[in-house]
């Protein structure tokens, strides 16, 4: 009877207690890691923010047109603050993943492994999107201003088409990077390719006309260029 009591009641309860202690310590470890991540993340954010401000990162971003975009989209109060927030986010995420990994369950470990394999692609896609948005904005504005100065009535349409095609190319490239619907993307890309080439031709023809002319003249006509002098005579 005593043996039965031991085997049926006490032993399972002891095992349950042991497992509870192990689980609780794992949970404590996870919570501790997350708490640590939150603290380190906050400190890192402040550090990055202050260092970037000292390095005049905001001014650089303003010159590149990133600052106005960040303000327009309401992402953060400044680019350096946004950079700090990104670093903070990465640290908290890393702490969360480390915590999940610490539970030593197969499911969480698989999740962490998959996440780290996917991370470089995700980051590359984000970079492609950000840079692509900047290039799109620049080219769109180049085409708009050049078309207005050329007196083209469809200036806004041209600029809009340029932005649309260039941004499409950018989104396709970003989606391809993270491996979403590759076949669809290839087909879409093939269809849009002609359009993109046309947009690029418009962008170069209008937006970078002077650059193209300078380049061609420098390649095919010897001697210095004098167009600056020619226009200055009429000032």
């Amino acid at each position: 009877m005593k043996q039965l009591w031991e085997q049926a009641i006490v032993e399972p309860l002891r095992e349950l207690g042991h497992q509870a202690v192990v689980s609780l310590s794992s949970l404590m470890g996870v919570l501790l890691l997350i708490l640590l991540g939150l603290m380190v993340g906050w400190l890192a954010k402040e550090l990055v923010y202050r260092v970037l401000r000292l390095l005049r990162f905001d001014r650089l971003c303003d010159r590149l047109g990133i600052g106005s975009e960040v303000g327009r989209l309401g992402l953060a109060r400044s680019c350096s603050y946004l950079a700090g927030q990104i670093v903070q986010g990465i640290i908290i995420l890393a702490a969360l993943l480390a915590g999940l990994n610490a539970t030593r369950s197969q499911w969480t470990q698989g999740l962490v492994q998959r996440f780290f394999l996917y991370l470089p692609h995700l980051l590359a896609a984000i970079v492609i999107l950000v840079l692509g948005a900047l290039v799109t904005r620049f080219l769109g504005r180049s085409v708009l201003i050049a078309a207005v100065n050329a007196g083209m009535p469809s200036a806004r349409l041209l600029a809009g088409l340029t932005r649309f095609f260039v941004m499409t190319l950018v989104v396709v490239a970003a989606l391809d990077e993270i491996g979403i619907s590759r076949t669809t993307i290839i087909v879409t890309f093939a269809i849009l390719f002609g359009g993109v080439v046309a947009a690029a031709a418009i962008a170069v023809g209008l937006g970078a006309r002077d650059l193209a002319r300078d380049f061609l003249q420098s390649q095919f006509r010897a001697g210095p260029k004098a167009e600056a002098d020619n226009t200055r005579r009429h000032l």
């Binding site: 303003d62 207005v148 001697g223 600056a228 002098d229 226009t231 200055r232 009429h234 000032l235």
Partner: protein
Amino acid sequence: MAEEILEESVRERLGVLGPVEIIVGIPSYNNAQTIGHVVQAAHAGMLKYFPERRALIVNSDGGSRDGTHEAVVQTSLDTQDLLLIRHTLHPVHRLTTPYHGLPGKGSAFRTVFRIAELVQARALAVVDADLRSITPEWFDLLLRPVLEREFDYVAPYYRRHKYDGTITNSIVYPLTRVLYGRRVRQPIGGEFGISGRLVRHFLTRDVWATDVARYGIDIWMTTTAIAENFRVCQSYLGAKIHDPKDPGSDLSAMLVQVVGSVFSLMETYESTWRNVLGSLPAPVFGFPFEVGLEPVPINVTRMLMAFGQGCRDLRPVYEEVLSPGAYRDLMSCAALASDKFALPDEVWVAVIFDFALAYHRRVIDLEHLLKSLTPLYLGWVASFARQTEEETAAQVEERIERLCLAYEQLKSYLITQWPARTQERRSEQ
């Protein structure tokens, strides 16, 4: 040691020549049709007005392919004997050399300046090679204030048709005047007299590999001379005859170059112009005789269309660049009926100051910023043309004077809005 820009052979020839008191510099590029006349005028001017001084005419050519070089040589051979016989005490030498480095007028000037430095010239006159109205008297007017009145910089003063030089009238002259406090009517005229002292100063400046040398050498020289307290005056040269062109053509690139240079210099001389209030006239030499002027045809309707389209299509750009008040006023002007259109001086000045501030703050890409000024500038020209349609030259000058006063009155706005370097640093920390 500074980079030597002159070829060895040129330096050898200068060494043989020895000290020269006056240099006449003629930068050229494909000016075979006109340079002969300019060289001839320079020869005659030297021989008539400065026969007792050694002079050297330098043609700094940018690689012309139309026979400009030959035209210079031939002209001198044709005229030298005759002029020498009648006037000269010292022969007028001639030197033709291609300039090196960055293509453009700045490189040509640098070559001429270096030659002036090597031969220890006391005075230098530079004139454009495409002039048709140049006379020997121009050299007297450009050089005598330097040689006899100890001025360092002589800017030209022309009679121009009311629709000629519209960028000068609307932006460059008023802005230079309000910023640096000197009324130099043609800051980018193209013809200048410069003292040897100022030439040496110019050569010490680190601008020769920059866009300033390529596009804005005239305004750089004028601004440097005024802002660094060299003695500046003007000489009345009469009419400057060149091929007049509709101010609505090829404007975009021109505005980028000229207005960009002015705005860039505002950053260089920030500490100077912040402390300048009002303006003083620069002395004018020469007799201001009346001359007949070739009319400059302009198409006001086309300009108004360009202005309207700019205000409609570039609205997002202007919203970003202009202050709310200036933007609202500009849009009110754009909403006026074509026959009632006018761009008040105060609105125009606020627009220019806001563009200068946007340039300094790098609000958008600089080329985009400056090119987006084109439709607004055309609006100003259209408004000016409407207002001055029946006005005489004197009345037009009065109108430009009123515009300058509007610039002066609104300067405090520019000063308060322009972030000082120290303040900027403090706020960023």
